[in-house]
């Protein structure tokens, strides 16, 4: 195993993306608390981490779990993905206009997360898979299903 980098390096490189994912997943108001929970959990586990091949994917996985915990604790409220401009590094595709984020928020959790990670955070399929804890194929399917549903809603 290679040497684990100083934890600060993970913050410098990935904190903004983790915050963006969490804002997409739980909304701006609660993202800050989930952000703290995510990085405290990561810090707790970090020295014993045996596979440091994809630290970004590891962090996004923890963030995803914290978002799920948050939704459970709040009795599955509908998800407030409202304003994609609030997401840092947002590179929404042209066909995904502002109003559509309300529809994204109404998607089932996996599809919603896949769409948000792809279009709000510009993650490739492999990293979406890592964040969701599923295979790249499953991530692709969730994304595809989500997009299909959105198209239907918009038609």
């Amino acid at each position: 195993m290679t040497q684990l980098p100083p934890f600060q390096a993970l913050l410098d490189e990935h904190a903004a993306d983790v915050m963006a994912v969490l804002r997409g997943a739980v909304g701006r108001g609660d993202a800050e608390d989930c952000f703290q929970e995510t990085f405290l959990a990561a810090l707790r586990a970090y020295p014993k981490l045996s596979d440091d091949g994809n630290l970004r994917g590891w962090l996004l996985t923890i963030a995803h779990r914290k978002a799920i915990d948050h939704h459970r604790a709040n009795g599955r409220r509908p998800l407030p993905i409202s304003d994609p401009d609030e997401l840092s590094g947002a590179t929404a595709e042209p066909e995904l206009d502002d109003g559509i984020w309300a529809l994204v928020g109404a998607l089932p959790p996996k599809q919603r997360a896949a769409v948000a990670l792809r279009y709000a955070c510009d993650l490739p399929h492999a990293e979406i898979a890592a964040a969701l804890g599923c295979s790249p194929d499953a991530a692709r399917r969730s994304l595809h299903e989500g997009i299909k549903r959105l198209r239907k809603e918009l038609a």
Binding site: Q3, L4, P5, P6, F7, Q8, A9, L11, A15, A16, M19, E32, F35, Q36, F39, L40, L43, R44, Y46, P47
Partner: protein
């Protein structure tokens, strides 16, 4: 994001997850990287060293839970500033000696006792560390000093008064000794 990161380092410290806190500090010689464990100041990185390599070294030797947390180092930063202004002659900081072992640690503890404005020879340090003949090892201990300035290895000279070496470069050693009034700066 800055507020979130500060809150994170505070919470990490409260929960015992902040093994190494560091900060960058300005000095007349360039930026210093200083680091503390819960036990005390563990590292002063002189401007001649790459801060990234220093952090990687701390991650490898102490713990990878390394976070930038300047608030944890306010006291050390304040004392260093006063020292560089010539207004502080004795540091009052808890130190963590864990990066030095055995003879080197004994040598560095002897160096730590050299008063402001005084010097010792490498031979005297070797003797204080328990082996008068280990003069070269005393020099190595100075070169490997993890907490320079606070542990004042710049106050160790060759027998006869030649400067010897310094990790921060000889001009820095000379300037520190001039500031402390050991060397004339007229020359």
């Amino acid at each position: 994001m800055k507020a979130e990161l500060q809150r994170l380092s505070n919470r990490a410290a409260v929960e015992g997850l902040l093994d190494v806190a560091y900060a960058n500090v300005d000095s007349p010689f360039g930026p210093l990287l200083i680091a503390t464990t819960p036990r005390g100041l563990v590292k002063v990185g002189l401007p001649t060293y790459d801060p990234e390599e220093t952090l990687e070294d701390l991650a490898a030797r102490i713990s990878p839970r390394v976070l930038e947390a300047p608030a944890r180092l306010d006291n050390a930063r304040r004392q260093l500033n006063l020292y560089f202004e010539g207004r502080l002659h004795e540091f009052d900081l808890p130190l963590d000696w864990q990066l030095s072992k055995d003879f080197r640690r004994r040598a560095l503890r002897a160096i730590y006792r050299i008063p402001y404005g005084k010097t010792r020879s490498y031979t005297q340090i070797a003797r204080s560390a328990g082996n008068e003949r280990a003069v070269r090892a005393a020099g190595t201990a100075c070169g490997a000093n993890p907490i320079p300035i606070v542990v004042p290895c710049h106050r160790v000279l060759r027998t006869g008064g030649a400067l010897g070496g310094y990790g921060g470069g000889l001009p820095m050693k000379q300037a520190l000794l001039e500031m402390e009034g050991v060397l004339d700066n007229g020359g």
